[in-house]
Symmetry: C2
Subunit: 339 residues, 2 copies
DNA sequence: CCTGCCGATGTAAACGATTGCCAGCAATTA
DNA sequence: TAATTGCTGGCAATCGTTTACATCGGCAGG
C-alpha cells in the first residue's frame, strides 16, 4: 500500500540509512544527496511509518487525556488548551473518558504500559484508589499530570485554578454589597473542587465575621438540573439567604431559573455568583457575575508540565496554581433594603 | 523498563509464539499452558507493546477525529458519541483541530499515511480543496467519514442531522401560532449547515405561502455574540419580524439577550426558535423552543459507519440522515395580536 | 609518500510483537 | 499393526524504521 523507506532508498539510489538521515538529521548528509532523496520523498509523499519509528525509538509521541465525561462541555476548553500545548512539540492527543474505561474494566495505565502514550493528563480527581496506586508506581508517576481536579493525599504533579481565592473573591464582592445571609450550592460530594470551594467560601465568610449554616448548603453536582432543584430548597430556609454562591456557572444558571419559577428576582431579591465563566455566562439573563478560571491556559499549562517532565526536566514545584478573577455582571446587586 | 514477550515466555517455560497465542487466540493453546502463561502475564501485568503489534498486523486500532475547533462545546457531545461507538471495538480516539493543523501546515491525511490512524472522522465541512483531494484519493476515501458537516460536491460517507426538516418543523410550529413575518439568523457564510438550514427555512416558508425578505436575514456565525449583535439589525427592519429562526441555540440565546436590551420581550413581542438543543437551552430565560439533534447519536453513528467501512463492509447508502425533533418550550408564543 | 582524520555513506542488528509452516505426539481408524 | 487425523507448540521470517559501527575516499600535516 503505502511506500516504504526501502523503496525510497532504491529510487534515490542510496541506502535506507541515508534516507532516514536525510529526513531526521539533514546536516548529516551532503546537500546533493539530501536534495536527491527529498525529491523522491516528495514525489511519493512518503511519510515514515510511525509505528516502526516508535518501536525503534521507544517513544509514542502521543499523550492520553483522561476526562471524567467527554460529553461535558466544561472540559472542551481544557482539551483545546492541552492540544494547543502539545501541537508545537508534534505530540498527538488521545482522549478517553473515565466512564468508558471503567465499563471496560481497563486502567488508563494500560496505555502507558503498552507504550501507546508517553504520558497521561488526568482531569478526573475521583479515580479509584487502585488506579491511583498504579499511577503512583515509580516508573509511571513521572509521566502523569493532573489538571483541574486532583486526588487528595497524593503527590502527583498538578495544575489547578486557585479555587479558594475564587470563592474568597465572590464572598468579598457580596459582602461589600451588604449581604449577610449566604447560601452555597456545592458540587458532587467527595469532589475535590467541591471541598476546596466550600472551604474557600467558609474561610472568607469567617474572615468577614459571617458563617454558613448547614441548611444553607445544597447541591450535589455541578449540573444545571441540580441548581434548579436546589433553588427551592434554599428558599425554604428559615433565614432566607440574600446571596448564593455557586460552585459552577451551570449550577448558578439552573438556580436562577429555579428562583424565577418561584417568583424570586435576581438580583433584586437574591444575588447569585457562579464559578468558571463559561461562554454562556455573559449571555444568560441576567448576565452572570462569576469567577473566571482560564481553562485553556490550564490545559496548556498541564501539557507543558507533562512535556517538561517527559523531557527529564521536572518542575521544582509539583503544584501549579493559576490565578482566577471575578467578573462582575448583573446577577449581583446590593442586599435588599440597602439599595 | 516494561517487560517483554520474550521474558514472559522464558518465565512460563514456553515460546513467544505460545504467549502471543495464549493472549490473542486462547482456543489455540491447551488450558494448562494458557493458565501457566496467564499466571506469569498477570503477575507482571504484561501488556503487549502496541507498536510492535501494530507494525506487524498493519493496523493502528485508532482513529482520528478532526474538529473545527476543539474549544467549542458544541462538539463535545459528538466526540463523546464517537468515543462511545469506538470503545466497544477497543479502538482509540485521537483528536486534533483544523486550526492547529493549518497552522502547522500539515494535513490530517498525514496521520493516515503514517499509519498512525486507521481512519478519520471529520467534523469540519470547510476543509480546503487540496486537502479534500487528498482525502478523495482512492486508498484514503474508504477510511474517511464526515459527521455533522460535510463538503459539498464530494462523495464521502456522511452522517448528518436532517437540517432541512428541522427548519421546516420550526416554521410549521411558528406558522401554526399565527406568525407571518419571519427573520432568519444564519451561521457562517459558506458553511454547509448554514445553507441547508436556510434552504429548509425558505422551502417551508414557501410551502406556507410566506417568504423571507433579504433584509430579514442576518448572522454570520453560530456564536452567541453574533446573535446578540444581529438582534438590533433585525429590529430595524421596516417590517419587524414577529418570529426569528436561528441556526443555533447560541445564536438564539444571544439574540434573546440582545432583544431584551432593546426592551423587546420574548415571547410576548417576538418568538425565537433555536437549533441543536444544547444543555443550556432548557434553562435559559425563557426556556428555549428549539430543534433537537441527537449529537451523541451522530457521533456514535459516524464511528460505527467508519468501523464498518474499515472492516470491509461499506454501507449501501453513503449518506445517513438522522431525524430531528422540535422541543417546544417558552420562547415561542402566538403572534402578537392573536393572543 | 605515508599517516591520520574527517565527513559521507552503507551494512546489518536491533525494536517487540504475530503468524505461516512444520514437527511431535496421542488418539482414532482401517 | 500401520496409517491417518487432530491438536499443541516451536522455529524463524516479517513488519518498517533507526542507529552503532564499519568502510571508503579525500585531504592536510609531517
Amino acid at each position: 500500500m503505502a511506500i516504504g523507506i526501502k523503496e525510497i532508498a532504491r529510487l534515490a539510489g542510496v541506502s535506507t540509512a541515508t534516507v532516514s538521515r536525510a529526513l531526521s538529521q539533514p546536516a548529516r548528509v551532503s546537500p546533493e544527496t539530501r536534495a536527491q532523496v527529498m525529491a523522491v520523498v516528495e514525489q511519493h509523499d512518503y511519510r515514515a511509518n510511525s509505528f516502526a519509528r516508535s518501536l525503534r525509538v521507544r517513544r509514542a509521541d502521543a499523550v492520553l487525556a483522561l476526562v471524567p465525561n467527554l460529553g461535558n462541555p466544561f472540559f472542551s476548553e481544557i482539551i483545546a488548551g492541552i492540544q494547543e500545548g502539545l501541537a508545537p512539540a508534534g505530540i498527538d492527543l488521545l482522549v478517553t473518558d473515565s466512564l468508558s474505561q471503567q465499563v471496560r474494566r481497563q486502567s488508563p495505565v494500560g496505555h502507558l504500559q503498552a507504550a501507546r502514550a508517553d504520558g497521561l493528563i488526568c482531569l478526573d480527581g475521583g479515580l479509584p484508589a487502585e488506579v491511583l496506586d498504579e499511577l503512583a508506581a515509580s516508573d509511571v508517576a513521572g509521566r502523569v499530570v493532573f489538571a483541574c481536579e486532583w486526588p487528595e493525599g497524593r503527590h502527583f504533579t498538578t495544575v489547578r485554578s486557585d479555587n479558594r481565592a475564587g470563592m474568597a473573591l465572590a464572598v468579598q464582592h457580596l459582602a461589600a454589597l451588604g449581604h449577610r445571609r449566604f447560601a452555597l450550592l456545592t458540587g458532587p460530594a467527595g469532589n475535590v473542587l467541591t471541598q476546596e470551594r466550600r472551604q474557600g467560601a467558609v474561610a472568607a465568610l469567617a474572615a468577614a465575621g459571617l458563617s454558613l449554616p448547614p441548611e444553607a448548603i445544597a447541591g450535589g453536582s455541578f449540573e444545571i438540573r441540580d441548581g434548579y432543584r436546589a433553588a427551592g430548597a434554599l428558599m425554604r430556609c428559615a433565614e432566607r439567604p440574600t446571596a448564593i454562591l455557586c460552585a459552577s456557572d451551570q449550577l448558578a444558571i439552573g438556580c436562577i431559573s429555579g428562583l424565577s419559577e418561584l417568583g424570586i428576582r435576581v438580583p433584586e431579591d437574591v444575588s447569585v455568583v457562579g464559578f468558571d465563566d463559561i461562554a454562556l455566562a455573559a449571555y444568560s439573563r441576567p448576565p452572570l457575575t462569576t469567577i473566571r478560571q482560564d481553562r485553556r491556559r490550564l490545559g496548556r499549562s498541564a501539557a507543558e508540565r507533562l512535556l517538561d517532565s517527559l523531557a527529564g526536566r521536572p518542575a521544582a514545584e509539583p503544584l501549579t496554581t493559576l490565578p482566577v478573577e471575578i467578573v462582575v455582571r448583573r446577577s449581583t446587586a446590593p442586599a435588599p433594603g440597602r439599595g
